[in-house]
Amino acid sequence: MPRFIDRRPQSRHKSAVNRQRFLRRFKKQIKMAVSNAVNNRSITDIENGEKITIPTKDIREPHFNFGAGGKQEIILPGNQHFIVGDKVKRSPIDLDKNKNNASNTGTGEDEFDFQISTEEFLELFFDDLELPNLIKTHIMKNNTQKLIRTGFTIQGTPSNINIIRSFRSAIGRRLGIRGVLTKRIKSLEEELKKSLDNKDEEQIIKLKKEIKHFKKRLLHIPFIDPFDLRYNNRVRQPRPTAQAVMFCIMDVSGSMDEIKKDIAKRFFILLYLFLKRNYESIELVFIRHHTSAKEVSEQEFFYSKETGGTVVSSALELMRDIITYRYPTSEWNIYGAQASDGDNWNNDSPRCRDILMHDIMPYVQYFAYVEIMPRQHQSLWEVYKTVKEASKNFAMQPIHHVKDIYPVLKSLFNRQHPAIPLTTEKL
């Protein structure tokens, strides 16, 4: 009699390790694919898995096989009209499919593609950014709920036992039960006294027995009983969330080339990902500028090319106006992120400072400025430095490599609870 085993509930994801090995082995290729994906994606769309395609030739496992050619005789089924001696042209269709030239992937395609999950995608995306692990988990964690104490319950896990409460109810129970018993004993003893006086032998024995029984019960009252246990109750509550708006400001003058834009994009993405954890809804405003600023779509923001001089203040003015008209600070948390290569018209820089200091910094939660691959710091950097000294929620950083992005946002991530001053509290 054979054994029947229902294996279904067990050993799931047996291949998970092998899959990880595969990802690990072809990390270089996969990272390339991820990086391409980042370039092609919208900032808000960053958190999806991705179809990764790598060339089959890279992952092939070679063996000694026969090549095409030589003399071969093969047997085929389904002859319809051939007779011996018929000549057949070599057809482009390979008749000999059952032989070795079927590649290991089974498809023989030039590309091998597969899906990676959101986590894996972000993991690879973060890889270059050199984020501390804690931050990575913070961003990747999809849980914006919070455990909140809500009194006590009579059921729970041992780790949540509330000792004081448990003992309190134990004392109560002991007192309660003991009270009843002692009262009973007392009345019996009184009866016994009467019986002793009456010399009612039968009654005496009976009463003595009863008293003994109750005294014994008194001793058996448990010190603590499962009934007494009280547990701390915690309830998951969604973290209070509010809405935020994120301003992406970028210099699109001729000097901002593709590489710089790519770094800028990653900078914006990282800020976006961070905000997404903390706010229910986020709006993005894209402002690009050269000598004049313009609010544009994301597509236009990253991919259209313009030339010309640079007047940063135009963008800041536009930001200020948009804040005033569309995002009242009573309802919105405002974040600013500016990327530029540092060029600015010299006379314009003091003006930037004034706008920032007076019209923007008081209203925004955070403003981050990155200078991407600057040749040398110019006037804009100097005036921003003074802004930085004046306000705590201003961060700036020159960026030469994507891994420099994180330090800009560091102070933002480092803020302890509550992570962000909430608009609701302001009211």
């Binding site: 047996k14 096989n65 090549g67 070795n100 290991n104």
Partner: protein
């Protein structure tokens, strides 16, 4: 005792499976099918993909190639371009049979008959499996291998171990023994031989006083090659002789080799194994139906699946993907039974021994003592050739056109039979490459020889394989081709030699 239909419901339960298994076992006993005890496991689709990815090993060490396999299968399964197998069966004792949970009741019956009785009895009976695999020990060995390799990973790092495994995997088809090695001789025998040698040398001592000078050429010939005889099991050769391998690397080479050896019989018996299992599920379900243990809807469903399994698209059909081993094997076994029971005049001429013999005994004999190549050479009947309309196509790259060399007529039967048999000879599937020589006095170059037949060249990726070989051997590896005329040409060297290198460096 009158038996009744066990169930009409298409949902299976373990209880029903047990009942049907008992009935099938009764039938199998009538036909004298000798099987290992079965261990039947119900698994999910995901687990089935897992099993696929690990080439059907229930336990396997971790390697990226299995991950790749998993991703490939998962993708095509999710897209719907591929259905999963209904079962997987493992050559072990007890014989592990995986059944997919999605199968209907009727399918589970078919699959039980196919795997738990068909394949199972084949594993137990066929000489190749008996000779080369030990069903009792394989699971334990796989556990050992998995543990050993993960220990190595801990100790030497995943990358190093992976590199070794990659290199060994490239030689997996050249890592099997085709013949048993002579057992190591005992000390006693060794001593006896040594004295014998001594005596012989003593008797030849006069040769020292020979005055005829030896020719230089001759002395070169006398220098022995190493290995003395070319070694076809390349992985074995490297495991035993590669100078720079660490002990753990040798062990890994051995593990890969052992597992390859375990699968070696399966590669040689695809037609027979599937044919045998298909023949028995077909016979068994018919018996179940005759005994009225399954009803008509079940039978229709089963026959539908059966015909799907043995469908052979013609060569010019878009779905044609080589000869279907189920069809070929099933047709031969089925025809073998016919020859025994209802022979025609033709059969009397072709199979005089088989005509009117006991079909159960004949089939059992055929199952036990052959492999695909010899099985076809022995039992492919003209009727099967006619039914499948087999023809043979000669493709000679020296000629501008291909030629039809035989069709299903009296002149062609023998030719088709021989050609088809050769087609399943592993020598015609894997190129014959052997370790030929090691330059012991020079730079330790390892020379491999490809013994060419029919002017078939090696595929381009031989270069890549050499790179892996070089990693294992640690010194240059050379690949030579020796053609049918005995001419040797150098095909490839790894690492590519600088232009002005000499094969013998100065002393």
């Amino acid at each position: 005792m009158k038996k009744k239909i066990i169930t009409k419901n298409s949902e299976w339960t373990i209880e029903l499976l047990k009942k049907y298994e008992r009935e099938i076992a009764n039938i199998a006993e009538q036909y004298q099918l000798d099987t290992y005890k079965a261990q039947i496991e119900i698994i999910t689709a995901e687990q089935m993909i897992d099993a696929y990815a690990a080439i059907g090993m229930p336990i396997s060490y971790h390697h990226w190639s299995y991950g790749k396999q998993f991703l490939t299968i998962e993708k095509s399964y999710k897209r719907g371009s591929m259905g999963l197998a209904y079962e997987i069966v493992i050559n072990s004792n007890p014989c592990i049979v995986y059944l997919l949970e999605e199968n209907t009741m009727a399918m589970q019956i078919l699959v039980l008959a196919h795997a738990a009785f068909g394949h199972n009895s084949f594993f137990k009976g066929n000489y190749l499996f008996q000779h080369w695999t030990s069903a009792d020990a394989i699971i334990d060995y796989l556990i050992f291998a998995k543990k050993y390799i993960s220990q190595c990973e801990e100790r030497y790092g995943i990358d190093t171990v992976e590199e070794t495994l990659d290199a060994c995997h490239t030689l997996i088809n050249h890592g099997v023994d085709r013949y048993h090695r002579a057992p190591a001789i005992s000390l006693q025998e060794e001593k006896a031989r040594q004295t014998e040698r001594e005596e012989y040398l003593q008797s030849q001592i006069n040769a020292l006083w020979r005055t005829i000078p030896k020719s230089k050429k001759k002395s070169k010939d006398i220098e022995k090659r190493f290995p003395e005889e070319p070694e076809e099991n390349l992985l074995y050769f490297l495991e035993k002789n590669a100078p720079l391998l660490e002990a753990w690397q040798r062990e890994i080479a051995r593990i890969v080799r052992k597992i390859a050896q375990y699968f070696y019989p399966q590669r040689q018996t695809k037609i027979m194994n599937e044919g045998w299992a298909t023949f028995w599920h077909y016979t068994i379900i018919n018996d179940l139906f005759e005994k009225k243990l399954i009803n008509e809807p079940f039978m229709v469903e089963l026959l539908h699946h059966h015909t799907n399994v043995i469908y052979q698209p013609p060569f010019n059909h878009p779905h044609y993907n080589g000869l279907n081993p189920y069809t070929l094997g099933f047709s031969i076994f089925k025809d073998l039974r016919r020859i025994c029971e209802q022979p025609t005049e033709e059969d009397k001429h072709w199979f005089p021994d088989l005509v009117n013999s006991n079909w159960i005994k004949t089939l059992d004999f055929a199952m036990k003592n052959f492999k695909d190549e010899s099985f076809i050479a022995q039992f492919l009947s003209p009727k099967v050739i006619r039914d499948l309309k087999l023809f043979s196509l000669l493709d000679d790259d020296q000629k501008s056109e291909m030629e039809i060399s035989a069709i299903h007529n009296d002149e062609g039967y023998q030719h088709i039979r021989n050609t088809l048999a050769q087609q399943y000879d592993l020598c015609n599937i894997d190129p014959n490459i052997q370790a030929y020589n090691v330059d012991r006095r020079g730079d330790r170059t390892l020379t491999l020889r490809y013994y060419q037949s029919n002017q078939r060249p090696l595929a381009e990726n031989a270069k890549e394989v050499l790179k892996h070989l070089y990693k294992l051997w640690g010194f240059p590896v050379k690949l030579e081709t020796i053609n049918t005329d005995g001419n040797v040409t150098s095909t490839d060297v790894c690492p590519p030699a600088p232009a002005a290198s000499t094969s013998n460096p100065p002393k």
